[in-house]
Symmetry: D2
Subunit: 148 residues, 4 copies
């Protein structure tokens, strides 16, 4: 039971997900469980790079943010999450109508969490692994951030 | 002399820089020399994350894209640049009105190039190193991309 | 059938695995299949760092080398493998008698391959994920290396 | 003055540097200042990989360990340093008689430190940048490690 997110916590994190740059990009949160999150994006011209593939920065943002909310789902309610660093490999140029991201926490430390995050591109029903990331995150008391 | 970019090449790369996601984000190319590029961003709410810092994805996109054009400046004119992977460390929460990014090519291989990219946040005239990235890029013949 | 390694190729790669620094470290190749490799290490004082954990460099070497032979198993026989870069997260201080590494190729490009590599520490029968890496490798014609 | 390391602290860190895997590899600490460290290695067959270049794991270990002692030089004396993660790019196959590594702390947080680390290969007097790393480290109270 304590492995489950409360309805209140889930509702809070779902609202918290959508702010600023995430709204600018248009990512959607599709699933949130303890230690896991999934998101998606309807790809448009607004996400492209100079050769009409999805920009690496779109996939990096998606991998990071989805990993962030996977991490949020396991920390105390008065904690916030900051990304310390991430690394992402782009495995093939991403084309198609839709991106899907799946992130899971692979190490749950008290302060430091590590997640991996995969981005798939969907095109004509087929799904291909487009990018793979490893993300290091830090849990920080909300009070510590407010004082900055 | 052969270390310099022609006016035509510079003009082409300056136009090429601004497309899709880069326009969505609002990055500006401020300098382009052989092996170096600088960019900037006027920060707004559209770039923020859930705690009102600049989103990690904004800095990651900026570090990647600026590194990409530093790489573009050293490859043959019929080559395009794809990012193979990057890693970025976020050194402090980025606040302030403006981001500046400076990228330089540290290894110029025939096919594989490596660049480092630094993102600074400006606030009240002070400038702080906010993020540091290492980016691996691949030069690809333009014809190879068109066939995809 | 073409997904299988020939006996000759397997024997060649098994011999090729053990050279120089790998013998210095004492890694053992335990499995080699197309796109996958596993290795192990009996941990001694010779592998420790200043706090008696296994040195990060031991795990990094193991993750890299095992990923390298996973990549070797999928490229043409006249190709050699070079590591372009890797990133590794250390998830907990590694203690115990034995390390196990499992690597698999996640993207098989003609020139560029990406593998992930996990290092587990064994202690009193229990196995824990100690490190997780993403490795970018390049297939290079053997003739290109000989001329260097 | 408070930017300087005491003689006692320097002597302690110099001794602390040489243990286990570092003695196995043969790295030498050449310089230690507040926030900076340099090391070197006389390259032998014991450091090679399958194509007679220096093994990526040797350079990774050197980059990590040297960054670690750059970090040690800035934390309180009752703190120990653990590597959370690193990323390293190998810029050219390393040949030659000697490696030199130079690491500096680029962000000095209370708990989290980031360093960059460069490895140069020396051959016939010439020095070439062979690898470049970004390393994330954590300062941990010595008492916390002893209880593990």
């Amino acid at each position: 039971m304590d492995r489950m997110l409360s309805e209140e916590r889930t509702a809070f994190l779902e609202r918290d997900f959508y702010q600023g740059f995430i709204k600018t990009c248009g990512f959607k949160l599709d699933l949130l469980e303890r230690g896991r999150a999934k998101s998606s994006l309807e790809v448009t011209k607004a996400h492209s790079q100079q050769d009409d593939f999805v920009h690496a920065g779109v996939m990096a943002t998606m991998a990071d943010h989805t990993a962030g909310y996977a991490a949020f789902s396991v920390v105390p309610e008065d904690s916030r999450i900051l990304t310390l660093e991430f690394k992402i490999n782009f495995l093939r140029p991403a084309v198609g109508d839709r991106l899907i991201c799946s992130a899971k926490v692979v190490k749950e430390g008290k302060n430091i969490l590590v997640a991996d995050s995969e981005v798939y591109s969907q095109s004509d029903g087929a799904e291909k692994l487009a990018a793979k990331a490893l993300v290091t995150l830090m849990a920080v008391p909300a009070t510590a951030l407010r004082s900055k």
